[in-house]
C-alpha cells in the first residue's frame, strides 16, 4: 500500500484545504456532555484558570448538531452507551472524539471480574481520536489533548512539544 504512487489530482486545493483545516482546528466546539468525575475537570478546564477559550475551544454547545468534538468524560455504563452512540451519530461531520480519563479509555477502576454495568472503554463503540489518561486527568492534560487533536487535523503542532524530564 505504502509504496504505490497515488496520482495527484489535476486541480489542487492545498491552500484551501490547509485553510479549512486551520479553521477547524482552531474552532473545536465541545459538546456539553459530562458523565462523571472527569466532567468536573472538563468544566475546570473551561473556567477561569485554564481557559480553554484561548484556543477557541471554549464554546461548549449543548446541542450535538452544533459541536465538533465529543469529550467522553467519565464512566460509560451499559445503560448510557446507546445514548452516547446516538449523540455521536447526531453530530455533523467532521467530528472527533476525545476519551477523557481512565474510565473512558478502558473502564478504569470499575473493571473487575464479574462486572455487570459498564462498557470498558469508549473505543468499544466510538472512533476515539485522542486518549487522555488520568483519574481524573488534570486540566492541563485536557488542553494537551486538544492540542494533540489540532495537530491531528492540521499536521503541525501549535507549540513545540515539551519533553519529559
Amino acid at each position: 500500500m505504502g509504496t504505490e504512487s497515488i496520482q495527484s489530482p489535476i486541480v489542487q486545493f492545498v491552500a484551501l484545504d490547509k485553510l479549512i483545516a486551520m479553521g477547524r482546528a482552531n474552532s473545536l466546539w465541545p459538546l456539553t456532555f459530562g458523565l462523571a468525575c472527569c466532567a468536573i475537570e472538563m468544566m475546570a478546564t473551561g473556567c477561569a484558570r485554564f481557559d480553554l477559550d484561548r484556543f477557541g475551544a471554549g464554546v461548549f454547545r449543548p446541542a450535538p448538531k452544533q459541536s465538533d468534538v465529543m469529550i467522553v468524560a467519565g464512566t460509560i455504563s451499559k445503560k448510557m452507551a446507546p445514548a452516547i452512540q446516538t449523540l455521536y451519530e447526531q453530530m455533523p461531520h467532521p467530528k472527533w472524539v476525545i476519551a477523557l480519563g481512565n474510565c473512558a479509555i478502558s473502564g478504569g477502576p470499575f473493571v473487575f471480574e464479574g462486572q455487570y454495568g459498564i462498557v470498558e472503554g469508549a473505543d468499544k463503540f466510538l472512533p476515539v481520536d485522542v486518549f487522555i489518561p488520568g483519574c481524573p486527568p488534570r486540566p492541563e492534560a485536557l488542553i494537551e489533548g486538544i492540542l494533540e487533536l489540532e495537530e491531528k487535523i492540521t499536521g503541525s503542532r501549535r507549540w513545540p512539544r515539551v519533553e519529559a524530564g
Binding site: K78, K79, G114, Q115, Y116, G117
Partner: protein
C-alpha cells in the same frame, strides 16, 4: 426518652426480638427483629414518633444455613473426637473394658438444612434526637416477598425498588418495581451472592 418510647411502641407489636445496642460500637441504638408481615406496622409506629427513613437495603445470607450446619457438624465432630479420646485415655488408665463410645451420627441426618434467607434492613433516624432504629426482617431466599412500606414512607419507594434491583426481593403493593438503577430490561440481581456476570 425517645428511645424508650419507641421501644415500648414497637414492643406492643410483639416483634421477634428487640435489642438495645451501644451507639458508639454499632452506630445505632435499637435493633428490632420482626417477621415480614409486621414490617408495615412497625414502620407506622416509627412514623408516629416522627422518625425519617434513611435507607432500605437487603443482605443475602446465601450459604449461611449450610455454614451453620457445617459449623455445628464440626463442633459435634470435635466433641465426639474429644469424647472418644477421653474414653480411650480412660480405658488406657483403667484398663477396664469400657463400652465403646456411640458412633457420631451423620450430620445431614440430625440437622436438617433450613432454607437460606435474605435479610431486609430498614434504617430510621430522627431529626431532633440522636436515635437510630434498625428494623430487620428475614424472608426465604427462594420466595422473597414482603409488604411494602412505600405508602407510609414515600421515600421507601426508591429504596425498595433498588433492593428489588439488587436482590430480587418483591415488595407486595409497591407501585412500580421496574428496575431503577439497572437497565430497564434487566432480569438479573447483581448483589446476590451466587450472581455471575
Amino acid at each position: 426518652m425517645l428511645r424508650d418510647r419507641i421501644k415500648t411502641a414497637l414492643a406492643a407489636l410483639s416483634p421477634l426480638e428487640i435489642t438495645e445496642t451501644d451507639h458508639a460500637k454499632k452506630g445505632y441504638d435499637l435493633d428490632v427483629q420482626v417477621s415480614p408481615d409486621q414490617v408495615p406496622a412497625a414502620a407506622e409506629a416509627i412514623r408516629q414518633e416522627e422518625f425519617f427513613i434513611e435507607a432500605v437495603t437487603g443482605v443475602d445470607w446465601f450459604g449461611e444455613q449450610a455454614a451453620i450446619v457445617a459449623e455445628a457438624a464440626k463442633v459435634k465432630a470435635a466433641a465426639a473426637k474429644k469424647a472418644a479420646a477421653a474414653a480411650a485415655a480412660a480405658a488406657e488408665a483403667g484398663g477396664e473394658a469400657v463400652p465403646p463410645a456411640p458412633a457420631p451420627e451423620a450430620p445431614a441426618e440430625e440437622a436438617e438444612l433450613l432454607p437460606d434467607v435474605m435479610e431486609v434492613v430498614y434504617d430510621f433516624s430522627h431529626y431532633q434526637e440522636n436515635c437510630r432504629v434498625v428494623v430487620r426482617t428475614r424472608v426465604p431466599r427462594d420466595n422473597p416477598e414482603l409488604p411494602t412500606i412505600s405508602s407510609i414512607f414515600q421515600g421507601a419507594n426508591w429504596h425498595e425498588r433498588e433492593t428489588h434491583d439488587f436482590f430480587g426481593i418483591r415488595f407486595l403493593g409497591h407501585p412500580d418495581l421496574t428496575p431503577l438503577l439497572l437497565p430497564e430490561d434487566a432480569d438479573f440481581h447483581p448483589l446476590l451472592k451466587d450472581f455471575k456476570a
